[in-house]
């Protein structure tokens, strides 16, 4: 009895869990796939002159050749009545052994014939049948081969994460069965545009056994019925990134790689230019045929802001370099190799492949060749405008201008400081600051750069703002434009921010006092020279006095100048805040890993709203881990809200929440506001955080 009740319980739990957690979609047969934009894998059967016994055959006008197609583990015979370059096709579509003629059409471009046949496969009940359409193709050039591919799909809807999506499954290997997950396809209308995009580079097309990411949640199909009428999709343990759309009008995925000349190449550095990406390889004859067109575009339009980048998929770099040399290619080249990063990012399944990207980083054309490509480049040159597909995103960099209000007089220069705070979990690269065109004002130099700003760190740029002699008197609003690259792994975005600046132009003597640091090289040269002279005199004459004077000068100057610059406060701030990784309490870790299943379940079971405060320091290297884990947990439930507090600037809040121990602020610290429970550090953070959320701490 025990084992029986255990078995029943297990089955009930299994059934219950499937019902509760997984989503099920009921799908219906649609006898055509040609209305979807798609590519396909064709199957091949060889024809034979040996008759198939038991068939009821028509009267042939030529010599018949026979073959059979296996669908749902059942054979269906066909015969080709060939007469030279023409042929008639007969198929036993219903399994009655009687061959019936198929109406097919002759393709114009290569003389091939194509027809669509609806086969009758056994239904799941064993008594009835179900329709299954195949497209069959015969080419006179290969007379003993019939190729075929699926021409049907199962389509319906499924609810995932509270959202209903249109989906379809495709029996990609055309075997009449939808339950072989590694050979069949799932289409899901992720962008909810009512269109199922089935092309090979689609962001809505996945193998049925592959996980896919929708809005940060990863799913995968767990079972499909053989006839494709039912699919079960569940959350997956495996993490995959969201596939960016590659349709025309979408932002081009950014990448940052080293090109064939050893120089860093990132799309972000080509801001404002029209970019042609040409995916090619030396073994690909059609690609080589395209090279002259691509080279011509690179040469003809180089001075008009067009950049051509060749992305090579050769198996060896030697072959790539030889080809570049042999064909005399002058435009920038990247050796990407087989299944390279850029090819994967752009999901290139066949070459030649081209992408045309406009000045705003939007894909304006793909798969263009020859004159079509040149014409599209010319059209892009003619059109100027902002991207029509701006991506919305959370703040990554925050900016503070000091002084908040800048005073200056006509024909004068003043110094302003732009403080940049990276409040995100990934670094910001290639930060460039320019002045948005403002009459009467300019920056000197016109562009200020910051190479990289690490996560949760701060940077500062000093800018010299100059006013022209004829600048109007009064208050003016100008803006700084900040362009930077934000990369997550190889995938990068270029982001443009504007920082407003208030300028007050007075009639005379407009002065803005901004604390300015002397050039470090100058100060250190003076210090080094002073001490060097002191040491030299000491060593040469044995007299200590010059060295004492030099060292005493360094002491006084160091203290005084350091205090003026606030370095004593900086030192105290560093020592007063304990980052748990800094002295080896925790390991340095970056972003937190995906939550475990138990954590996700526990979060789903939260019953009341909980506020968390994550205290961090900008330079703390474990803080991003705590922040990303809290953020990820909050994404799993609406009942969890959080805020990030910089302890460097909000010590009072840290003190009032008990984050300061022994007069030392310890970060990262996570505080549950309603109970006051505190977690320090990141060791075993997920489990400890769940305990706090469950009120067990």
């Amino acid at each position: 009895m025990m084992w029986r009740s255990a078995l029943v319980s297990s089955v009930l739990i299994l059934v219950f869990s499937v019902v509760v957690i997984a989503s099920t979609g009921n799908l219906e047969y649609v006898g055509s796939i040609l209305d979807l934009t798609t590519s396909y894998y064709s199957q091949v059967v060889w024809l034979s002159y040996d008759p198939i016994p038991g068939l009821t055959e028509p009267t042939y006008s030529g010599t018949p050749a026979y073959a059979s197609v296996t669908l749902a583990e059942r054979s269906f015979a066909l015969a080709l009545d060939r007469d030279g370059d023409s042929g008639k096709l007969y198929v036993d579509a219903d399994g009655s052994k009687a061959l019936a003629r198929v109406d097919w059409i002759q393709q114009l471009w290569d003389g091939s014939y194509m027809g669509s046949v609806s086969f009758q496969l056994p239904a799941s009940d064993g008594n009835s049948t179900r329709a299954y359409r195949l497209a069959l193709v015969w080419t006179p050039a290969t007379p003993m081969v019939i190729t075929y591919f699926r021409d049907n799909r199962q389509e319906g809807q499924i609810e995932l994460g509270g959202v209903t999506y249109r989906i379809a499954i495709i029996d990609e290997n055309s075997d009449g069965m939808f339950d072989d997950l590694d050979h069949d396809l799932l289409l899901i209308d992720i962008d909810q545009d009512s269109e199922l995009l089935a092309s090979s580079d689609s962001h809505e097309r996945y193998w049925l056994d592959a996980p896919f990411n929708i809005d940060g949640t990863v799913y995968s199909a767990t079972s499909v019925s053989r006839n494709g009428s039912r699919i079960v999709i569940d959350k997956s343990d495996r993490w995959v990134e969201t596939n960016a759309p590659l349709t025309v009008g979408s932002p081009a995925p950014h990448f940052s790689v080293v090109d064939a000349d050893g120089e860093r190449l990132s799309l972000s550095s080509l801001q404002g230019k029209i970019i042609v990406l040409d995916f090619w390889a030396s073994w690909c004859a059609p690609c080589l045929y395209e090279l002259p067109y691509v080279e011509a575009i690179a040469n003809d339009y180089a001075d008009r802001g067009v950049v051509v980048i060749g992305i090579d998929s050769d198996r060896s770099e030697g072959a790539f370099r030889s080809a570049v040399s042999y064909f005399g290619l002058t435009y920038r080249q990247v050796f990407d190799g087989v299944d390279g990063k850029i090819s994967s990012l752009y999901r290139v399944s066949g070459i030649p492949m081209t992408y045309l990207i406009d000045r705003d980083g939007i894909i304006r054309g793909k798969g263009l060749r020859g004159d079509d490509l040149k014409q599209a480049v010319a059209s892009s040159l003619a059109s100027v405008g902002a991207a029509d597909a701006a991506m919305s995103q959370e703040a990554i960099l925050s900016f503070t201008v000091s002084p908040a209000e800048i005073a200056l007089s006509p024909a004068s220069t003043t110094l302003l400081q732009l403080s940049i705070d990276n409040v995100s979990i990934h670094p910001a690269d290639d930060i460039a600051v320019t002045l948005v065109e403002a009459e009467g004002f300019s920056l000197d130099p016109a562009e200020a750069d910051l190479e990289v700003l690490q996560p949760f760190s701060k940077g500062m740029l000093e800018l010299r703002l100059t006013s022209s002699p004829d600048v109007p008197i009064g208050t003016d609003e100008i803006a700084l434009q900040v362009i930077y690259t934000y990369c997550i792994d190889i995938s990068c975005l270029q982001i443009v921010d504007e920082v407003p600046v208030t300028v007050v132009v007075g009639r005379s003597g407009g002065t803005t006092t901004t604390k300015r640091e002397l050039p470090a090289w100058l100060v250190m040269s003076i210090v080094g020279g002073l001490v060097g002279v002191g040491v030299a005199l000491w060593r040469l004459t044995g007299a200590h006095l010059p060295l004492y004077i030099a060292l005493c000068t360094v002491i006084v100057a160091g203290f005084v100048y350091g205090v003026i610059l606030g370095q004593h406060e900086q030192a105290q701030g560093i020592a007063a805040v304990l980052c748990t990784s800094c002295v080896g309490i925790d390991e340095v870790r970056g972003e937190a890993p995906p939550l475990s299943d138990s954590a996700i379940s526990a979060l789903a079971g939260l019953e009341k709203s909980i506020d968390l405060i994550v205290f961090y320091a900008p330079w703390c290297r474990t803080c991003p881990y705590a922040e990303s884990m809290v953020r990820e947990m909050a994404e799993r439930t609406d009942l969890l809200s959080y805020s990030f507090v910089n302890v460097d600037t909000n010590r009072e809040l840290a003190e009032s929440n008990g984050v300061i121990r022994s007069k030392r602020t310890i970060v990262p610290a996570i505080v549950r506001v309603d109970t006051g429970d505190i977690i320090f550090g990141i060791e075993d953070l997920e489990a400890r955080l769940l305990k706090v959320l469950a009120g067990e701490s």
Binding site: L551, G558, A575, C582, V583, D586, E587, W619, G681
Partner: protein, 270 residues
């Protein structure tokens, strides 16, 4: 005997200042003239090596730090190691075996110093702190008992580092100070010009090597009284029955003429 008592008192004062946080005051702006972890729950002063790494990471030109370090160096050089540093005091307590210093190895503390700087710059992280035995005692262990640190890989690395250094100290007097301390390396640069310095009256020196036998740094004080390794602890002074060695707190003389020759010289007066 009297000098030894003064030194112990001074070391006690160093420890007292290092742990001044027991009074309830918070972190001050003072950079500690020795190796003392600012993460210590009772610390009110800033570790110069920890701060140095953070300033390298932040790309700050460390004017304030330079002012403090040069001030300490000029005042006493490595005298702080012998008279003030709490970790130096721990070295003292385990100084059972006063072997001769291996001169070539004594430069390894500069390698540690350079390695500390380079690793901070290269990895943007305080790598030295993760290995520092002072941090093991003053941060890892206290925070473990406060429930903030746990037995994890960084903790185990700290304990291994501490164990190795303690074993080294027990086998070789002032092992850490001799070969590994980056702060000692910085202060040693000022040792020959610092106000606190060891003086030798060569006319009284008989080269009996009594001072050598007691030197915790394994030096020959009557020959190397201005060595960059000398921590100016004064043990050689109390041992020298002829009074050839002494400590001075005044700027070194001569200020304006050629400095004294190094080592014991024959008494020219006969």
């Amino acid at each position: 005997m009297r000098l030894s008592l003064i030194r112990r008192t001074s070391q006690g004062f160093g420890l007292f200042l290092a742990l001044f946080g027991f009074t309830g005051i918070g972190m001050t702006h003072i950079i500690f003239p020795g190796l003392h972890c600012y993460a210590c729950p009772l610390s009110v002063t800033i570790c110069p090596i920890g701060l140095m790494q953070n300033l390298v990471i932040l790309g700050t030109v460390p004017y304030f730090w330079i002012g403090a370090i040069v001030a300490y160096g000029l005042a006493a050089g490595r005298g702080f190691c012998g008279w003030f540093c709490p970790f130096g005091m721990l070295n003292d307590l385990l100084s059972f075996n006063k072997t001769r210093i291996i001169r070539s190895l004594s430069y390894s503390k500069y390698a540690v110093l350079v390695g500390t700087l380079v690793s901070a710059w290269a990895f943007a992280d305080t790598i030295f702190c993760k290995l520092c035995p002072a941090a093991s005692i003053e941060a890892s262990i206290p925070y473990f008992f406060m429930g903030i640190a746990r037995v994890n890989r960084p903790f185990i690395i700290h304990m291994i580092s501490l164990g190795v250094v303690l074993a080294g100290m027990a086998l070789i007097a002032r092992f850490w100070c001799r070969y590994l301390c980056p702060m000692g390396g910085i202060l040693s640069l000022f040792n020959r010009v610092s106000f606190l310095h060891l003086k030798l009256d060569s006319s009284r020196c008989s080269s009996c090597d009594a001072c050598t036998a007691v030197c915790p740094m394994g030096l020959k004080p009557h020959e190397e009284y201005d060595s960059h390794n000398c921590i100016k602890c004064g043990k050689c002074i109390t041992t020298c029955s002829l009074g050839a060695l002494s400590l001075s707190l005044l700027p070194q003389l001569p200020l304006l003429r050629r400095h004294q020759r190094k080592g014991c010289v024959p008494d020219e007066s006969g």
